[in-house]
Symmetry: D2
């Protein structure tokens, strides 16, 4: 069960071996699907093997999960909160190992890997408090001796399908809330990050076991589209939370809608940063760097479009080219690296194709534009000067490619910002209150995240995370996102002996 | 312009004539589509003629509406509230005429017609207050010198497609909220209730005009599926609120989703009343009568299934048969009538077909079951004894047909209640707290409206109206329903000079 | 019953005569106290006579009010809301006459008189909506088969003691909310504005009567300290809302506390405007004029202290002196007048005394400083240059006297702003986000109203109105102010058969 | 430094010795006041010595605390939440020792001692979530280009004065919330429970130190009235949270009000349980036992009055007498003990005096009524039959004395319930919804805690804890109690160039 490389041995501290069963089904680890290898994107060498789930595994898991749901929804919410608190403590005790694994298997740099795990810990802490605040309402009734209540009850089972780029934080956003809300969780992680799926599941399972709760409250599968489709079609799953591309998300939504289930979608972004001529340029440049190059451009909140006021356009571009030159590319686990590899060889190919299309649509490469010859999936951080109307600008190329464009007025900048199908995040750099409040107002940015003087990425968990239009409309993490994980009933209780009717109607 | 009958002359007091243009487009009345006749369901005779809208009318209307949206969303919300207040006053001044028209054109009895208009007036009053309470949040940020805001901004344009059974109240639920939220409204009323659409629009238009606001803020069309499809496909319409069958609603949803718009669906119901053996039987029987026979069984909240505890089954059925005998059937405008006609001859035919299917699936007609020979669309109020598992019981037959069934335990009753695809309304009659709280709790009824000791219908506007599963998941009227009519942005404003990152990440 | 002057005849349109009974007691107009004359502050001539209430009148009124309370608190909140809506409509129909009366009897200019009445109308509209949103909460319980509810119930009777400067708006803030919350209202208006008290009461009474409700739901008294004390001591009055000086307010509070009643205090203000060196100076100057001279400096939100950054100090003072020269002083009912008389000859004397003290403490009169010889109580709008540390600056001189002072840094300006005992309102003029957010943040202004680029006065009803420290801590009008008018109960309902204890305690 | 008894040695595990300094001042342990002995109420023997604080210690502590406040209020709320999370973990690690100490020094039985500590831990967990939800509001403005915000900022310093009966939980309610809200805490524990004060402070101090925060954020004093008065008078302390008798509370309130500070009062209770004739009698009897005998009747929520429907009066009293006989009295640390000693010899004397008064007012002792001869402060659990109108029934005798009385109707029972000056807690036992909803409605119980089928005591932290009338009106723990620990500002920001006025006023 030893690992091929010494520096993978830390994986044993979080329950992983060189070969791993990929399904957590009714408290047991199983796997009757295909065996796959998970690889390090920095060198495309195998880390370990995982046996994925089959439809039989899935069905077995769902049956147990359905039974567990009946028990879990009856556990009082504050008690559920205490379980989530213990999950948070379990993660805290393995923060470094998990962060390292995220970096190793996904390819993001270590501080981002650790930050991603920290985000789940934050979510746990937040959810514990929430478990005593999943409040309904007592609403005044217009009828004497009547009482109106708005009740929030658990849905039952929440399916969570996550993507490779945040292989565990997105699970955290969903599972922490879903669990305190009284739902069981069925998780399918990304096919290319199975070790993270397994390691996370083991920590959660340990807490459930210690508390003598049915392990099937948390059920997880490593697997691909087959499992994903099963989740989308499964009437036992009341809410499907899906993170991925707009294209796949739309299909998931239609499948779920056809069975009258609920969907929570976090789909593509195409996020702009606007730099006004009164901006703090060094602050803006640092922010663009983090937003465009961070996670190798593979965040849904990555800045893909930079809109600069014509008066400072050249200054901003020059400074940006300067900092791009200093970006250290390399092993994401190495200290000082800012840009790790893309997640897969396919991503690298897509980058190359993307650059071709960009050029064919009039894009001018200001820096980068090439891949880096190596065993890993490394590409150059790239800046492109291009028209906001080019077709390619409307799409999400999941790579560190930044489109730069010029504008004259805030109104024009907002029009460009809003001109893409996606609506996740956007940001402005300015010091003028009139710009700030227009930007966040009715005729401002139409995205779900609207920032000022910070990048498009790096959201805090206290706010609601998600976007409009092709981004899918879902909201995760803070604010009242929890309402999506519960069903609402408007209850009117007549405790008198009469039958007065609303709107003063007299019947019979 | 005279009406064919003297008793239609009140229509001229609300701006209607014997021939009417059916589109309110940019402040003018138009109509270049087909001319249709609107008829009285009590005798199937023509009331008046209406010229419906064409796609050209629609396009013209939408262009004006898009322009108006830019202005309306900038009007401060409390000022928008004052406009809605004036609309309420305008309706109040024509309450009796509008109520009479609803009764005449839709076929419901006069107290229900007036009650329906009163409901819009209530919505106006409620929305005025709401116009100062469309509150976002200030959320503590984890970063120094940062501020998080959750902002709610207008969507732009809301499309409202309503059904014949509530030809104006549903518009009221949507339009009052949509307007105070800063949205323009595009309304397509039911093809068979065009006079109501026109009369309502004239009252709203009068208010807009008096306040020198663009009339296109409220744009309305009489028309059929063609206009409906245009609305569903129109990218300028950010939210489509649709009321109708689950089947059509699903199609609307898919069309709207494909263009990444938002949907608010109020679809079919299949609502049960449970009578426990400790219930106040006379209260229950009166409630069932109102819920099953009211509006001739054509409410989405009509009680279609009556679940009676075996111990009191016979007593309840006997009393019910007794009151059914006394139901006065006839002209809905006549005093004392409890059961008016179905809305159309087709409804009558569907009733006949439905009864055939019921019989073929083992249903036993306890009373009614037949149509009433007359010029109008009258049918008998019907009670059927049938198994909860019969296929026909899972469907919504839009007529005064009540299925009666027996149960032994609350658990069994809840299982039957939850066993249909629809999830709108349900009600229990009992005096035991343990039953009441189980019923509204995690393992209770799965509908959106969950009542106790009142019928399934007759909701107050202060609560959120809508249902789960095949009912579509939308919520209208009170509570936080307004959020669906706005777009949410999570805004983080950095007002300092540093760039601290969330989750303590250190980048570069 | 004729008035002494033709131009007082409009008073008969709002139910007033040359002699008036001053108590509305159980639906009748009475008065067995002293007869007083109410005068026009612009000429100190009698407008009409009023017979004030005695303690016997008071006791009679309170007995009826206590009986009415039992009925009113059982009327469903939305029905109460409809009563308040009708009150709003009644006021709307007499807006001009009431506004004119406010101007005549109190002395403020007509636009402000009408604005004050408009504010009550706005409060009515707001409260109607609120009547369906006085929501309690359903809170998750940690115990199985338990439900926690936070309920809000009426207090019973709310006493409202108002001051001369807002003789009806403050009643409006309190009464609209108190009424929808299910409380009866006992009002004592200011002794010098009895006609307003009577006229307002007649409009409210008309609505109650029309709806066949007990008139004692609204009980009012013209009178002085004797009635005020009776209210403070009366155990039947659950909340006393008092507007007046900090000194009297403190006494009221102690009296009410001794009987364990609740107090809502709106006491003295001492409000500063800070002008930073990046401010829009003309906007600031216009704002200071409105804030310092409006209502002749007799608003609790009047700007009394102007803090100007040293770099622009001279420019601001010069512009201010310039606009002060153009202030038209005279009859408040005359078009174009900006500065009417002080309310009483005593106020005029206090002004004179105040100027003497100012001079003795080193204050330098830059403009004004004198009274205007006339029949009325007119004084000059005054600007004084003075040290922020002078004792007189810590007090509220209720007259159009503005203290001007210089500062170097925002920190210093905030320290001066916060250095007075009072904490009602304050405002900054700046265009820098860092200043704005510091100003409204933990180390910014410590007042209850904290404005940016608008004056200290002119609050909207949607927010909570009130202040900290010697201003008394109460909040009126919008936000969750209504909670002060209700009593909160935390209810835990056990609907099971077990007795699990919180915190997992095991007893016996 | 050794303890006199072996079984006190566990105290060294929580930082206590045989002699202890009683003030935590600017991170150091001091004490220049008198030396006192803390004793075990079960035998009145010394546990350890404590040197109390002097006014000089106090002043030194407050100066440091004031400095610390400037830093702490700038720490972002979620970071403050993480500190409170760590405090929770520190308590969790010493739960058994702290619980044992509470039992030893206060005298309550061990399960209650541990439960009390658990309650603080629960508060910590709750407050962590709250630290991201201290939300203000964004409120729609009626003016174009204006934005209204309701901001919540820290107060600065919160003084907490606690009583002997909950020597640490009440600190927990206040401190957890005060800290996440950004306030420093100054704590004076009860003079007779100094070891608990010191032990709790040490745990908190350890967390602050580990995080390199100023220790003066948490400042605590062992001491008596002198320190208490200093807190009440200290203008640097913005809120004083006081728990104690109504008499002392009223004095504290007046002192604090005179300096225009804020008060949060948790004063006397006089709590009734009503048993209706349809009640589950065994459930009621068990509840009364816990409510009347638990903590030896020294909870503010202790049931002091038992109101029984005449039909079941004898049955309830008989069952109660029966269970009272089985109550095991003795050492609170011993397993099985239900009734420990009163806290002090004075309490014992007060019990004796109380029994005399009871008898003199016609009370009939049904069981108990005597003290138990022993070294400790033990008394018999007592049941008294008495008229609800007896004067003694209106007062709070802090001992296990239960008054039993009879009633005929719910209305009468509610009148008796509401007839005392205090208004903390009350409870009904019934199975009828009409009774339940009347009880919690406008004409029901007037206490702050209103229970159904559970005792008057044993509140969960998720709801707001506190009472009306002579109980003081404060609310602690859950719901929106946090608002009392912050100051609210209504902010209006004009980001345009115009100066439109509210209420449409036109000035100048």
């Amino acid at each position: 069960m030893g690992f091929s490389r010494k520096d993978y041995e830390f994986l044993s501290e979080i329950g992983l071996g060189s070969s791993n069963l990929g399904c957590f089904v009714n408290g047991s680890w199983k796997g009757s699907g295909p065996t796959i290898s998970t690889v390090n994107p920095a060198n495309n060498q195998k880390i370990a093997e995982v046996i994925e789930g089959s439809i039989q595994d899935y069905e077995e898991g769902m049956q147990a999960c359905s039974e567990a749901a009946k028990i879990w929804m009856q556990v009082p919410a504050p008690k559920r909160g205490d379980i989530v608190r213990q999950i948070g403590d379990a993660l805290r005790s393995k923060l470094l190992q998990l962060g390292r694994l995220v970096s190793l298997e996904m390819g993001k740099i270590l501080p981002e890997g650790i930050g991603e795990v920290q985000e789940i810990i934050d979510m746990c802490d937040f959810s514990v408090g929430l478990s005593r605040q999943l409040n309904g309402s007592v609403i005044p009734s217009e009828r004497p001796n009547h009482m109106m209540l708005e009740m929030w009850n658990p849905l039952g089972i929440v399916g969570v399908i996550t993507a490779f780029n945040f292989p565990c934080a997105v699970l955290g956003w969903n599972a922490c809330i879903a669990l305190v809300c009284g739902n069981c969780v069925v998780w399918k992680g990304a096919p290319t990050t199975p070790l993270i799926t397994i390691a996370m599941t083991k920590l959660v399972a340990g807490v459930l076991e210690k508390n003598n709760l049915p392990s099937a409250i948390f059920t997880s599968f490593c697997g691909g589209a087959e499992i994903g489709e099963a989740i989308a079609k499964d009437r036992r799953i009341h809410l499907v939370s899906f993170t991925g591309s707009s294209k796949v998300g739309l299909k998931v939504q239609q499948t779920v809608n056809e069975r009258f289930g609920k969907c929570l979608l976090e789909l593509s972004g195409n996020n702009a940063i606007i730099v006004m001529d009164d901006a703090d340029i060094p602050l803006a440049v640092r922010s663009v760097l983090f937003a465009a190059v961070g996670t190798a451009g593979q965040r849904c909140t990555t800045c893909r479009r930079l809109l600069v006021h014509e008066n400072i356009y050249q200054a901003v571009v020059d400074q940006l080219l300067d900092v791009y030159k200093q970006v250290k590319i390399g092993d994401p686990l190495e200290k000082g690296t800012l840009l790790g590899p893309l997640h897969t060889p396919t991503s690298k190919k897509n980058f190359e194709k993307g650059i071709e299309i960009i050029k064919s649509q009039g894009g001018k490469i200001l820096t980068g534009g090439g891949i880096i010859e190596s065993e890993g999936n490394f590409v150059q951080p790239t800046i492109v000067e291009i028209s906001p109307n080019a077709d390619v600008v409307k799409e999400e190329l999941f790579a560190p490619v930044l489109y730069v464009m010029k504008f004259k007025t805030l109104k024009e900048a907002i029009e460009i910002n809003n001109s893409v199908p996606q609506g996740l995040s956007s940001s402005i750099f300015t010091r003028k209150p009139e710009y700030i409040f227009k930007w966040i107002g009715p005729q401002g940015s139409d995205t779900g995240i609207v920032n000022v003087n910070i990048p498009t990425n790096g959201a805090e968990i206290g706010g609601a995370f998600g976007g409009e239009k092709a981004t899918g409309g879902g909201r995760e993490a803070g604010s009242d996102s929890w309402k999506q994980y519960m069903r609402r009933s408007t209850c009117t209780i007549n405790y008198g002996n009469e039958l007065p009717l609303a709107q003063g109607i007299n019947f019979g």
